[in-house]
Each structure stands twice: as C-alpha cells, then as structure tokens.
C-alpha cells in the first residue's frame, strides 16, 4: 500500500519558499484547513505534479508550467519551483523530486519552453535511472487510476456518468475502475496468451511442413492460419473503426448538447425568417387587392345615382311584366269566349250553352278584346332588362369601408412584420459570433456516424461468422495433425494446446473475476453507503455492468434521480469500496469534498473516513468541517492538523496546528 510521508513544496503557487506537510506513519486522517484562494487545490496539484508531471484545472485543462511558480518570488526575479514527495510502498521508501528551473539565458520566462523540468526518484536512498523511475512510478501509482486517490467534489460528480450506458466519460471511468481492481492483469494475460497461441499454431504448421508425411496438412494449416491472420487484422481494423465511430458519435452528441442553446436560437431565427416571408406575401396580396379597389373606386361616387336609376328602371320593368301577364290572360279568355260562341259549347266542360248565356258572353267579349288596340309591353321589356344589366355592371364593392378594411390589414401585417424583424435582428446579433454552419455540421456528422456504425457492425458480424468458419477448419486440420504427426510435432502440439487452454482460462477468468468484483463492490459500497446516509428508508445500492450505483429504497424500488449531495455520498461509497477491493491501494486525498453535503451527512462521512482508506488527507475550509467536529468524530484517528495562513494574496504559509 502506498503511503505518503511528506509533501514539500517550494515557490509553488501561493507557497513562497519551502513549505511542508508531514504525514504520520500510522493509519488515520490528516486535515489541512484553508479558506478559499489560500492554496488547498494547489497542494493537491503539487502532489499530482510530483507524481505525473502535470497539473490540471478544475475543468481538467492542463496548466502551463510558467503559471505554477510563486508570483511574489517571480516579482523578485526568482523563477522556478519544486515539489518533493516522500512515500512508502511495500516497505520501501521513495523520495520523488520534480523541479522546474529557468532555462539558462532566459531572464523572464513566458512559456513552458523557458523552463527545464527534471525529476529524480530515490528508492531506499539510492537514485534510480530515469526509465526505471518512470516504470516504478507507473507501477506504484498509474495516472489512469489517480482519480480514486486524488479528487475533489467535481470529480465525485462525474460518477453519475456510470449510469449512462453510452457516455464516453462513463466508459473511461469504468476502464479506470477495472484498472484499479486489477482486471487488466487478466485481460492483458488473455491478449498475450492469444498471441502466444497464434505463434504456437504457426510453429506447429511450419514443423508439419518440414515432415514429408504431414507436409500437405502443414501447407493447408499454414495457409488457413495466414488467411485467418488477415481476417483478424481486418476485424481489428473494423473494431478500431467502430470504436472511432462510437467516439465520434459520443463526441458529436456532447458537442450537440453544448450547441443546444445555439441550435434553439438558430431554429427561432429560421422560424422568424419564415414568418417575415409569409407576412411579406400577405402584404403583397393585400396591396394588390387595395390597388384594384382604388382603380374602381370612382364608381362608388356614382353608386347612389346609379342605384336610384336602376331601381326606377327595375320598377318600370316590373310593371311591364305584370301588364304583359294580364294581356296574355285576357287574350286567352277572349279566344275561349269566341270559340264558345261559335260552337255553342263550353270549351272547359263541353256542355251546350243556352241562349241567355250566349248573350251574356257576347256582352262580355269586348271587355277582353279591348287590349288589342293598346301598345304591347313585351316590346319594351328587353330594352329595360338590358338597361338594368348595364346599371348593375357599374355597381362596385369598392366602398370606402372595404378599402379601409384592407388598409388596416396591411398596417397590422406591417406592425407584426416590424416586431418579427426586430426580434430577428436581435437573434442575429446573439448568434453573430457563433458558427451556425458548425452546428449543422455537428448534426450531419452525428447522423453520418450513426449510419456508418450500422454498416461497420454488419461488416463485423459477417467477419466474425467467416472467422468462426475458418477457426473450425483450422481445428479440423489440427486434429488431423494430431493423428498423423510424429514425435517431431509433439512439442509444438503441446505448446499450442497449453497456450490455447491458458488463453481459455484467462478468458473465463475475466468473466468470473468481473462478476465477483461487481458483487463485492456492490456489497462493500452498500455497507459504507448505509453508514454515510442519513435516510433510513434507503436499503442498499445496486450495481450495473459499468459499476454505476443506484440507490434502492426499502420497498425495493430504485431511486432514479438523486441530488448532487446524494451523488457525492454514493460516489464516496464507491471510492471506499474500490479501496477495499483493489490490489492497488493508496491514500485518499480530497479537496473540499463536503461542499454539497448537509451537516448530518458531513458528520457521518467524517466518522467513516478512517474506514475508507488507511491514509486520508483532507483539504477543507473551516465552515465545511469545523475543527471541533472533526476532532470529536475522528478522535484518535485524527493524526494531524494543518492550517494554510494568509500572508498576502500571493503568499500563503502552511502551519501545523498544535
């Protein structure tokens, strides 16, 4: 187990001159108190810098070396800094020094190029060679798993990604978790033994080719192995391509998320543009209508007179039509009377007419025949109808009211258009600095990646099927060789068989070990979680295939969404569990991890700290953990306390609390 014994920093960040923190040999917690901007994160970074040669900001961006030195020292012309880390691992004591010196000839450094960086590692007092030191350090503390030893609240928040199956960050964290748990020992073993097995097969084929009895089989074996090798290379290429495409898809997805707001603005802008175009069309239509109305508007001035004239003619027409009807009826009646008088019979009932009746009819006949002499009204009707029709043609709907109505619509449309144009201009300004083509490109690239993934996956399926077939053929040839081969092939066969079985063992081992790890991590994380949480209704944590943990309620239901505070408690439970189950163990060094926890959870976490790791180093501000609370909760497990004191804005000093 890695245990840090001391950290010494010199002219690093706000720490002017040399400052040191000693950590006791015994298990327990060391707390360094410091208010904001005093240098807590810098101390975490100093440890990171010593171990890995680089420092990251909170957003995981690498900080330039020339930004790491102490500003007050630099103001006095003293540039450069160093960090010395003393630690123990498996009974050996190491001293790691990493320093940055100004390059000769440079008076005022402005970039990394103006510095020379060197590191030295001693093991039990003896200096190690540079390459040996790098290898030793990567064995003691690989950077890929540093997230489990050196972290802050933001890093804890990232563990939520493990619950998202397609998250790239989740995939990276899962890899790191498996690494700290030792899974690569088996996956690397599986890969190496696969390689050894392939070599053994080739050696066996060559040996078979050398023997006349097995030459033919040997040739066939060698040919199949060659073909399989080419196919495997193609499979590997396709898998790499698939990984690349999945990476692109995830990256584009994440990029698209960031561009979400921009996309919203652009969509709004497009909608407004369409709205403005539509309003333009409507205004044009209405203007055309108004133009037509105005062209015939003079008619509206004559409208009352035309109307009166038309009504007068219509009245005459009506009278003439009535007269025409009357004349027709009279003529028909006279004709009927004449017929009755001449035949002596009634034309309707066909009865004989008496003399008296005849006389009566004769007397009435002039009454109906009198119309023959008057003017025929039917002669005038067509001319009057023509007049009415002409007068109607001059009627118009271009009344002032209609024109006003159209004009009002045009004005309303123009007002709406002006408002839309104003908002459009505003949006254009907001999106001016943004590359809209990039947003569209992101989506196009995302779509393209999705389509290509399907194609490559189909290709891989076909490739895997072909590989399975060729593997079957190789196995058959090898069985034949087993039967026909002599003692000259014995060792080669044995090598091949052992390598194949070993590869099978490691392959199975990966599955079994992963399953066991998940069970163990879930169990230990649950135990720690129940110790940390103040919610009595929470029963356990449930692990997924990526080591993501979900809270399980007493009623058996999963809690799908959790607060930032709950996320920290779950993440700390995972940390503690990983520390317990990892072959690689070390200190937990946390920077301000309690910011999102309430006082009850903070107290519980402090209480549980000694169970999470052998050595715990905390960088906190006093309102995050009150010293009195820490002392009460930790009691003897609190091994030392330090305080970062302010001397100036650019000068902090680490003091031991007595």
């Amino acid at each position: 187990m890695l245990r840090i014994r001391s950290v010494r920093v010199s002219d690093f960040g706000p720490f002017k001159g040399e400052q040191r923190i000693d950590l006791p040999k015994e298990d327990g917690v060391v707390i360094v108190y410091g208010e904001n901007m005093r240098g807590k994160t810098t101390l975490l970074n100093a440890i990171r810098y010593a171990l890995f040669g680089r420092v990251l900001t909170r957003g995981s961006v690498e900080i330039q070396l020339h930004q790491l030195g102490n500003w007050e020292s630099a103001a006095h012309g003293k540039y450069g800094f160093h960090v010395v880390l003393v630690f123990e691992q498996n009974g050996d004591t190491y001293e790691l020094t990493r320093e940055c010196r100004i390059r000769p000839g440079v008076s005022k450094p402005a970039s990394n190029a103006d510095y020379i960086e060197e590191s030295f590692l001693t093991k039990n007092g003896s200096a190690m060679g540079p390459q040996e030191a790098v290898l030793e350090l990567s064995r003691i503390m690989p950077e890929t798993v540093s997230r489990f030893f050196l972290f802050d609240g933001e890093l804890l928040q990232q563990y939520e990604e493990l619950l998202r199956s397609e998250s790239e960050m989740g995939r990276q964290i899962k890899e790191a978790i498996e690494r700290i748990l030792g899974v690569p020992v088996l996956t690397n073993g599986r890969a190496d033994l696969g390689q050894v097995h392939k070599q053994a097969q080739n050696q066996e084929a060559k040996a078979a080719q050398r023997n006349q009895k097995t030459q033919q089989l040997g040739n066939l074996h060698a040919e199949l192995l060659g073909r399989r090798e080419a196919m495997q290379q193609e499979s590997t290429r396709l898998r790499q391509e698939l990984d690349r495409l999945k990476g692109t898809k995830t990256a584009k997805e994440e990029q698209a998320k960031k561009q979400e707001m921009l996309r919203g603005l652009l969509a709004q802008r497009e909608r407004l543009q369409e709205e403005i175009n539509s309003l333009d069309r409507k205004i044009l239509e209405k203007e055309e209508k108004r133009k037509n109305l105005l062209t015939s508007s003079w008619r509206s001035l004559l409208a009352p007179r035309i109307k009166a004239l038309r009504e007068d003619v219509e009245e005459q027409l009506q009278l003439l039509r009535e007269e025409s009807t009357r004349r027709f009826v009279r003529a028909e009646t006279a004709e009927a009377l004449r017929k009755a008088l001449s035949t002596g019979r009634c034309s309707l009932c066909e009865q004989s007419i008496s003399g008296e009746a005849k006389q009566h009819l004769q007397n009435r006949l002039p009454e109906f025949e009198g119309t023959r002499q008057s003017v025929d009204p039917d002669n005038r009707i067509p001319s009057l109808e023509k007049q009415v029709s002409e007068l109607r043609r001059y009627q118009t709907d271009a009344s002032i009211g209609v024109i006003q109505e159209v004009s009002t619509s045009i004005r309303d449309f123009r007002v709406t258009k002006a408002t839309s144009e104003d908002r459009f201009r505003e949006l254009k300004e907001q999106t001016a600095g943004l590359d809209e083509s990039e947003v569209r490109r992101t989506y196009a690239e995302y779509e393209k990646a999705v389509q290509e993934i399907v194609i490559v996956e189909n290709g891989l399926k076909a490739q895997d099927a072909a590989l399975a077939e060729i593997d079957g053929n190789i196995s058959r040839i090898e069985s034949e060789l087993d039967k026909k081969g002599g003692s000259d092939l014995q060792k080669e066969r044995k090598r091949r068989e052992i390598a194949e079985a070993l590869r099978g063992l490691f392959e199975e081992g990966v599955k079994v070990y992963r399953d066991l790890l998940r069970i163990k991590v879930e169990k230990d994380a649950t135990a720690l979680f129940l110790e940390l949480t103040s919610e009595p209704d929470y029963a356990s944590l449930s692990i997924n295939s990526s080591y993501g943990l979900t809270i399980v309620h007493n009623d058996g239901n999963m809690i799908p969404v959790r607060s930032a505070g709950a996320e920290h408690v779950v993440a700390l439970s995972l940390m503690g569990s990983l520390q317990k189950n990892a072959p690689l163990r070390g200190p937990i060094i946390m920077d301000s991890p309690f910011g999102r926890l309430d006082s009850l959870h903070t107290r519980r976490v402090i209480h549980a700290l000694p169970n999470m790791a052998g050595q715990v180093l905390l960088f906190v501000y006093e309102s995050e953990i009150e010293p009195k609370l820490a002392r009460n909760e930790l009691k003897g497990a609190l091994r030392a306390e330090y305080r970062i004191e302010r001397h100036s804005a650019r000068y902090s000093k680490v003091e031991k609390v007595v």
């Binding site: 690989p142 030792g182 014995q490 044995k494 090598r495 070993l502 081992g509 079994v512 790890l517």
Partner: protein, 61 residues
Amino acid sequence: MDLLATILELRRKQFAHLPEDLVKDIVRIEIDYAEDRSEALKRVEQALERYLNSLPENKSC
C-alpha cells in the same frame, strides 16, 4: 478480492490439466509488467517455453 485466488480456483475447477505454477507465473508477470506490455508478452512466452522444456519428453539427455 484476490485476483490470483480467483484464477487458481477456476484452474482447479475447469482447467485442472494446466500446471498451477505456470498459471501463477503468468499472473505474476501480468501484475509486474502491467505498464510494459511488450515485456509482459516476452516473459509469458519465456515462461511457457520453460514449462515445455521442463516436461520429461522434451528434456535433452
């Protein structure tokens, strides 16, 4: 969680014909050379070769 114990248990149950020492050697190599992949492969090859040479039928007189 003992990684070696897991793999040895699996050997015992499903791959009993594989020599325990060879399996232990390979696990140890992969632990020690996790950061140096080509060295790990070389050493695995050597471990297998040593085992094959130690077999009675392959020992030279």
